[in-house]
């Protein structure tokens, strides 16, 4: 397990989602252009559960928020399902995920979005900050 940074892990997820054909945001943003996936820290964000973790060997918990435009009920749901399946099939190896949350309509600014949340976790050996 080579040492990485938290930012590079989120970037790895963003790249993998990008390879699925969707825009990914590796950090929470004020504006989201659907369809896309926003990567946000989950609660708890980090867990040290192996020996000698020392604050550097972590289980990293993230939530992938899948977002599509909510214009038509049926089309939006079909679109959301496509994004979810493609994203899940392209997650980096070693990613742990087992559930996809219920689709929910959310208002972000002037836009209505159909969203669902995918909790994921991955283990990482972090680089000691300089």
């Amino acid at each position: 397990m080579s040492a990485v940074t938290l930012g590079s892990i989120r970037a790895t997820f963003a790249t993998a989602i990008g390879q699925a054909g969707y825009k990914a945001y590796s950090q929470p943003l004020g504006t989201v252009i659907p369809p896309g996936v926003v990567i946000v820290p989950a609660e708890p964000y980090l867990e040290a559960n192996t020996l000698n973790s020392g604050g550097l060997i972590w289980q990293l918990n993230l939530t992938l928020i899948v977002v599509v435009a909510y214009l038509d009920n049926q089309a939006a749901l079909l679109n959301l399902e496509d994004v979810v399946v493609k994203v899940c099939r392209n997650l980096p190896r070693g990613t742990v995920f087992d559930t996809v949350g219920q689709p929910t309509v959310e208002e972000v600014g002037p836009s209505s979005l159909l969203t669902c949340r995918i909790p994921v976790s991955i283990r990482a050996n972090l680089t000691n900050p300089a």
């Binding site: 397990m1 192996t50 020996l51 000698n52 973790s53 604050g55 060997i57 742990v96 087992d98 050996n125």
Partner: protein, 148 residues
């Protein structure tokens, strides 16, 4: 005395010169004396004949990882491929456990026999495996010293 708190973060585990702490969730080294009790006319008399020990490990499975503990132990316990080359289940490998406290550190050093770790998987759950490595009798050394 004051309360001492020690966590797994204070512990490292090395087997056959490889540090496996990042993969191990918990480890327990136990010495279980074989002690005979003789009921003499003058009361009980005790004799410890042997002091076998073992290490119990619960870890995140790392089969299919180059340099992983699972493959390393399997290579020694069962050998590689149909020819079972390098099979040496009766040749113990060295281990070291170090627990670093506030002022002192305790080091356990000894030899354990390699065993094939279990392989498992359940749905989307992280594969955790537990197994025991029996110690080679007479090799265990425990020292507590002031931190360097």
């Amino acid at each position: 005395m004051t309360t001492t708190i020690i966590t797994g973060n204070d512990l490292t585990l090395t087997i056959d010169s490889e540090i496996y702490a990042p993969q191990v969730l918990n480890v327990e080294l136990a010495v279980e004396d074989t002690q005979a009790t003789y009921e003499t006319l003058g009361g009980p008399a005790y004799k410890t004949t042997t002091q076998p020990f073992s290490i119990s490990i619960t870890m995140l499975s790392d089969w299919s990882t180059d340099g992983g503990i699972c493959a390393a132990l399997q290579g020694k316990a069962l050998g590689e491929g149909s020819g079972q080359t390098s099979r040496a289940p009766d040749t113990a490998v060295a281990f070291t456990m170090v627990q670093v406290g506030a002022t002192h550190s305790t080091t356990w050093v000894g030899d354990v026999f390699p065993k094939v770790p279990p392989g498992s998987g359940a749905g989307a759950e992280v594969s955790e495996i537990s197994f025991e490595l029996p110690g080679e009798r007479g090799t265990l050394r425990v020292t507590t010293a002031v931190n360097a």
